[in-house]
Amino acid sequence: MVAEERDNVIDQPEVLRPKMVTVEIAGKKYDVPEGITLMKALWYTGQEVVRGAGCLGGFCGACATYYRTKDDPKVKTCLACQMAVQDGMSYSMMPPFPARKATYDMATLQDPKQDLFTLYPEAPLCRNCNACTEACPQKIDVREGVWKAVFGDFKSVSEMFMDCVMCGMCTPVCIADIAPNLVALYVSRAQGAHFAEKPARLDKRIGEIENGKYVDEWNRVLTMNDAELTKACAELK
């Protein structure tokens, strides 16, 4: 290794002197290396994971987990693939929660803002406890979102819940039995399907394709030999 390369090394004391920490997984104590994710700690302790692991990138919500740090009474939520273990931490994965999802046909909804109250009649019963917001690992202001949905501000809800990974951690805490993530999903879809502007240019392009605007160009390109194609590609600006 050249000198330059020896210098360009980031300090990671935890790697030089691997430190073990004690965590409690589903009520049982294990020693695991500090700094690995909660998910990796499950594997480290020899557990076969079938349920509770999905994308492993923080997007699918499969690994919704409750955790508590040492001496703190507050139980928090996280995604197990995105949180690092700390000494004294306790955690358990959230079991699949039997929240009710309404079924609807997005295309034929007549009055989506009113239909919300038929599909999710519990939505306006929010008692403002804010537990859903506190439970959200994505830091969405869930309670505010539920109210905005009820008041018909679908656009704001769709923007607020773009980060929602549908982990469902807002559902078991709700004392009014609302499933805020499902309400928000309905509202966001309705916003997109019924209230968003129609993109004119897209329809124009679909028409152009259907009306054969590109047929000549296709005929020209698809009959080119390899050399001609390579040239055509190189000439693209």
Partner: protein, 525 residues
């Protein structure tokens, strides 16, 4: 050295770098760079396949072993069906959901089986966007040529033409389902420029494009009350005279075999990242173990381009907890620089993934990388540059997912650059298909990453989401149409008998059970 001291050079050189233009490599330089540094050209990682439809062709050792592997299904398994449907879809990601919805829309009865939960997939993680030629200055033909160039001219022309032409109609379908694509002030779809494309063509939902599409498709599959089998892993196909007639599953909860009879089977099983080819970390989801390739191969389907894989240029290298996580390409699309340990740019950041990845590997192999004590190496991606160029709060506004991802580890990407290195991202090839997604095996369709030919030897950013939607639709629609006028075939394992005898004839006695289903990460000792 303290990370902030190492990052200083990135801050110091920012103003100078902002004035630089790095030209793209010429075709000859690209070829030379890739041949020297791209992992696809590491000969020791490859070996020929011993038997089957692709006998003698080279692929990575990890995949060859699985293709030649042993089926977990005993020869005397009772094949009485537990479920019967017109169409069986294997896989619950973007391609699987699209296929199921389109088959259902044609009036077919559909069973969708997945070894994870519905929606747990690579699709859900797609951040960069979906390429659709909607801009006035763009056209499907330009999209075609850009993709062809990116794929080293090896793409199947008919597949590619089909995909680019159907793109706009796909966008319209997704909009009708309620997908919230980013818009311009006039209501038109906002398009961004992606690596390897000459025109702005990326349709996005901030940096959650895949999540938004997956959320909606998953909800729609539930709304349409399509029969689901979750935590149910396909382990073998069923055949009748060489045509596909169903599949054998293993229920991962009770370990029982489950038999599904269907007139058409659509494999939407995704890629191979979790095979950790050549020891690379991967950006892929937990179930990306190439199951569909093994099953289709045993059935006699030909594979293509299975010697080429895509290494996404920007996998997170630090902190250690983020290994395998992706840093979205959007950062480079928006002007983020790649910077080596000397504070120099070394590639045009908007070149294709294979070129950018190869150049990063070159910098690191030639000693201009930054090492971590975990034994990893990488180069800087100058994220604060975006805030300098476009104003404070830019990252938070356009890349909220990434900001949050790093914030969880106490890192502020608006102030400090991030360390990245290529990570195993995508299987460029797969099962050979025709324009309707059908493989060489009759009634066996393949959609999405499990299929091959469309992307040539390197997939362009943003083309995967479109691939899923287009070929999910076409396979679902075609299979459903055909199912109307045909009878359910018999359920046999004849193809497996043939495969096992061929394996024996070639002296292969594999102890590897294939498909893998899930990676064996649980520590045994």
């Amino acid at each position: 050295m303290d990370i902030h001291r190492l990052q200083e050079i990135v801050h110091q050189t920012r103003d100078v770098r902002r004035k630089q233009t790095i030209p793209k490599y010429s075709p000859a330089e690209r070829d030379q760079l890739i041949k020297k540094y791209h992992p696809d050209f590491r000969e020791s990682a490859y070996r020929p396949i011993k038997f089957g439809p692709n006998t003698g062709e080279m692929t990575v050792r990890e995949l060859a072993a699985l293709l030649e592997g042993e089926s977990p299904v005993p020869p005397d398994l009772d094949l009485k069906p537990d479920y019967t449907a017109d169409i069986l879809v294997v896989g619950g990601g973007g391609a699987g959901c699209a296929a199921a919805l389109h088959a259902h829309a044609q009036g077919a009865s559909v069973v969708l089986a997945t070894k994870l939960r519905l929606g747990d997939s690579n699709t859900v993680m797609a951040q960069g966007g979906m390429q659709i030629a909607v801009a006035d200055e763009d056209s499907p033909v330009t999209h075609f040529l850009d993709t062809l160039k990116g794929g080293h001219m090896k793409n199947d022309h008919q597949l590619l033409k089909t995909m680019v032409e159907e793109g706009p109609a796909i966008a319209k379908w997704l909009l009708s389902l309620g997908v919230l694509f980013d818009r311009d002030a006039d209501g038109n779809l906002h398009v961004k420029k992606g690596g390897g494309s000459t025109k702005p063509r990326l349709v996005t939902c901030s940096d959650y494009t895949g999540l938004e599409i997956m959320r909606v498709l998953k909800d729609e599959v539930l709304n349409q009350q399509i029969q689901l089998l979750e935590f149910c892993a396909a382990v073998e196909l069923l055949s009748d005279n060489g045509a596909c007639t169903g599949a054998v599953f293993k229920d991962l909860d009770n370990h029982r075999f489950v038999i599904v009879a269907a007139k058409g089977v659509i494999l939407a099983t995704g890629g191979i990242g979790r095979l950790h080819i050549q020891g690379f970390p991967t950006s892929n989801h937990y179930g990306a173990t190439g199951d569909g390739l093994s099953m289709a191969y045993r059935m006699g389907a030909r594979l293509m381009h299975i010697d080429t894989f895509q290494y996404h240029p920007s996998g997170a290298v630090y902190p250690e907890q983020l290994i395998g996580a992706l840093v979205t390409e959007g950062i480079r699309s928006e002007g983020g620089h790649l910077v080596n340990a000397r504070g120099e740019r070394f590639v045009n950041e908007l070149d294709t993934r294979d070129v950018v990845s190869s150049s990063i590997i070159r910098e690191c192999e030639e000693g201009r990388g930054i090492r971590t004590m975990a034994g990893r190496v990488g180069v800087w991606l100058d994220t604060p540059l975006l805030e300098v160029e476009q104003g404070p709060g830019t990252l938070d506004k356009h890349f909220p997912a990434m900001v949050l991802q790093y914030e969880r580890f106490g890192l502020d990407i608006s102030k400090d650059p991030v360390l990245i290195y290529p990570t195993l991202h995508y299987q460029n090839g797969g099962v050979k298909i025709d324009v309707n997604g059908e493989s060489d095996v009759k009634h066996l369709f393949v959609a999405g990453e499990a299929s091959g030919g469309l992307h040539g030897r390197n997939r362009l950013m943003g083309n995967s989401l479109l691939d899923l939607m287009v070929f999910g639709k076409r396979s679902g629609t075609t299979a459903a149409h055909r199912a109307r006028s045909m009878k359910q075939g018999n359920l046999t394992l004849d193809h497996l008998v043939r495969f096992r005898s061929e394996s024996k004839r070639h002296g292969v006695s594999s102890t590897i059970v294939s498909p893998m289903v899930l990676p064996a990460y649980a520590r045994k000792e």
